[in-house]
Symmetry: C2
Subunit: 185 residues, 2 copies
């Protein structure tokens, strides 16, 4: 097992940064010892997702137009968490803002590295249950749609390829697996 | 349903490019009409993944040290496909190079947008069955380890958090779901 880092960094150059990412180009020797460059995108936030599940097996999906892919996307509630703060607090805040839901119970469902050929983006996804409905307060910049759907309809939107967001697909597929195995909630 | 793009692009600036990505900063009006910037990472390749399954329910995992996350990562066989070429041909080539396997049957399992808050990276993942073993020829730059494991062991590595690569987690979870439902192969 080669657990040791086989890459050698010879130099690095800061290329770009904004509030969400920075981009650095590294001069490297690759694992074969050959010189090359590696452009790495560092994420300043952890991507937090949360899947709320009601006692009657309903969940909530968030719809928004994704600038990057130039397409509308239905997803589980998601938000960014600065690395120094608690991801669970971000899950609680995002769920409340986007859906008005407050959950008595949170459980971590999974951690993902979303795009590890180029970035260090980490996602943490929670299950939220024992829900109470309060008022939503979505950020005005977000132009979100919120839709309450049955879990089985959400699974169908994954199966038929309507939902393509990786965090949403991984989380909903895992939840369907747990349900089929009798292990959900 | 707001399916129309609510973002307005006022200007754009090319920031960086290499063989794999380019980074552009856009001056935008967000969906609320407020000015801001959006840094977008465009991927020049589609991420292709392929899960080979043998008749006795074994699969192959690929281990490599991921530069971006500074950690060793076990994943399904994956490779980059230039946007102008056929993703299935990339799957066939990567599977042969990394494991020496040639499959008589390929089936698309899923498509994912891996990191849609910042990038347009698309992943396409295939199931490969009816396998024949030939010689592997991994690229020397890659320093890969190849491991043949039972599907149930692979599912276990997802469940216990050892495997965190989003494509691998989504694909293996979907395959476990199909197996539990009696729908696999």
């Amino acid at each position: 097992m080669h657990q040791k880092n086989p890459w050698t960094i010879k130099d690095s150059k800061a290329i770009y940064q904004n509030a969400w990412i920075d981009v650095t180009e590294y001069d490297v020797l690759n694992p074969a010892g050959k010189p090359g460059i590696y452009g790495k995108v560092h994420f300043k936030n952890i991507a937090v997702g949360v899947v709320p599940i009601t006692p009657d097996m309903q969940t909530y999906l968030v719809g928004q137009y994704r600038f990057t892919i130039d397409a509308y996307s239905w997803e589980i509630p998601e938000g960014g968490c600065p690395e120094s703060t608690d991801p669970l607090q971000t899950a609680i805040r995002e769920l409340k803002e986007e859906t008005g839901l407050v959950a008595a119970k949170y459980k971590e469902l999974m951690r993902l590295h979303l795009s590890n050929s180029v970035s260090d983006e980490l996602a943490i996804i929670y299950l939220a249950t024992e829900l109470k409905q309060e008022d939503a307060a979505p950020e005005e910049t977000e132009a979100l749609q919120i839709k309450k759907v049955s879990l089985s309809d959400a699974f169908g939107l994954v199966a038929d390829g309507t939902i393509t967001d990786a965090m949403s697909v991984a989380a909903l597929t895992k939840i369907e697996l747990l349900q089929v195995q009798g292990l959900l909630i």
